[in-house]
Homo-oligomer: 344 residues x 2
Amino acid sequence: MVRRSATGRIGIADVAVKAGVSHATVSRVMNGNFTVDPDIASRVRAAAAELKYQPNPVGRSLALGKTDTIGIVVPDLANPTFQAILRGLSRAAAQDGYRVLIADSFEVSSEETILAGEARRRCDGLVLCAPRMSDAELEEIAPSLRPLVLINRTTAAADVPSLVVDYGQGVQDLAEHLVDLGHTRLAFLAGPPRSASNGMRLQGLEAFKAAHPHVDVRMLEGGSDFDTGHEAVDAVLESGATGILAFNDLVAMGLMSGLHERGLDVPGDISVTGFDDIPFARYTTPALTTAAVPITELGEQAWHQLRALIRKEDNDAPGSRYQPRLQVRASSGPAKAPRSTVHG
Amino acid sequence: MVRRSATGRIGIADVAVKAGVSHATVSRVMNGNFTVDPDIASRVRAAAAELKYQPNPVGRSLALGKTDTIGIVVPDLANPTFQAILRGLSRAAAQDGYRVLIADSFEVSSEETILAGEARRRCDGLVLCAPRMSDAELEEIAPSLRPLVLINRTTAAADVPSLVVDYGQGVQDLAEHLVDLGHTRLAFLAGPPRSASNGMRLQGLEAFKAAHPHVDVRMLEGGSDFDTGHEAVDAVLESGATGILAFNDLVAMGLMSGLHERGLDVPGDISVTGFDDIPFARYTTPALTTAAVPITELGEQAWHQLRALIRKEDNDAPGSRYQPRLQVRASSGPAKAPRSTVHG
DNA sequence: CCTGCCTAAGAAAGCGTTTTCTCAGGTCGC
DNA sequence: GCGACCTGAGAAAACGCTTTCTTAGGCAGG
């Protein structure tokens, strides 16, 4: 006959009664404390096994002041980039016995702040991907979220490592690649206006323009998903550009699909590049030229940084900067003779 | 001067001292209990605001016996299907103030059991996607995991709703579609051998074969990712089939990519269909014919079912069955004159 | 043989809340 | 004007665990 505590689940008290010892002793046994007589210990273990006792993590968390859980705030769980970060993070954390709590802010920057705070309180640390949050707000809340690791953002707050991808360099590499292929009219299909990583790309393009005054680089408004690319076909054609730098692989895929529907050939008529090198990029037709970001590894690194913070280790590498690697595939090719713009 | 409790964070006791009341009163105010004098209440609120007090969720969870968190166990976070379920679940749960804890079993079925138990203990309920777990094991652990919602599995345990997609019907619809296009030699590029959803597809194909004795349906070994499809090109060509039913969209994309590399035309030479209708399916070249599963909605429904269980509502709809919808796009077309097999 | 130390296990405090219990003070009715 | 009822707030218990504190008992040394 199994006794059940108030909550209906088996608790440490039940095991204590069954083994004829105090619940303190049960706790000691369960935690591998060796100051317990071996006979009693095995009696306790037998009782625990028979009752299928498993310590309540909430009670444990309260007593120990830790939850063995970390949180991650992402702006959009539908975005493969954040999925990959989540995967890398989850996997690395799991290896150290930590679980991951997710908070999806659905691109609403005001939510990011609240969610981050809530998630942090439930966890031992936080990974924050908040591309829309203002610098001022980030500065303000960062200290209260520690242990904290930032992705693609930086802060002046101490002990807050940042993992940032050098999108500026990556987009320059892509642009160089297109120029090497003979393209002189490029267009950048931008990301969400207030996105931090979009800002980095724009900076990179400014540097590129300064270094290549003879290359025409148009800026086109955009977004971060398929539809953005798909709907941008007209704007792209109007621009007269022969080399298109899409904000990311998703946008590039949407664009290629749209161009295909118009009967245009990639890369015959227009070269298209993406960014991120998501797994799908290899399998588009034509396969997508892009800048590869070791994004899963980034999630993994985020955990290592966070772990160091949680363990209060001296973190010799407070954050790092990732260089995208140019990944040339079939979607980019030699420029054909300059086309005239479709309109005018 | 801000007092700090033992853990270094501001607690209810600090607010109580600052407002000159007992911590019980602070708790009452924070929880909107109206049996508190308005003057005192506002004094408490002022103190809480000034100290930026936020209740500790762990303490709260222990007292209330609930965590406002649900868990989800998935076999592979890299799989778009589970990403979509996660997204739908997370979003729906968030609207009711619940967070989601993820547990990735990395396709290891023995992990599924342990992870499920651990996750469940930290949460108020669990959504379980465990395609590899044996029926016996599922039967055994299901009761202890309640409140529990199963995805693509069923159990005899009471009060355990199942959300299952009718993969059998879906694959039949796809096969019918190919036959309608004139294909008489089909091949099924199977999924992971022990996967439950693969089993459902196989059953569906048996039914199809019984109904269409004149159609040749080959079974090819496979898996669930890009590489599976990509590496299956040889086997597909050897089969002599002109209509290929890929296990899912990923496999189909890998296959199309491989066929493209061999200079074969889809659907001119071979028609290819996927399954799931992941967002990418619209944007492949050619766009992928597939069976659309409202997978995000499934995640959402999982939450609604789980919520009913958590609230102990009478659940009038204990689980449901989803019918995939045939989504015809450009990757399937009329069969050309029967080819001879490449070898022999 | 008694004192002092050490070991091992129980008692109790603490983690941060919520909630029941208790009680002081006020109000109403008779 | 006094007892019964009600209101509102503090005291304390409870949630389930870990860990410190305490103490009983065994053993060795003087």
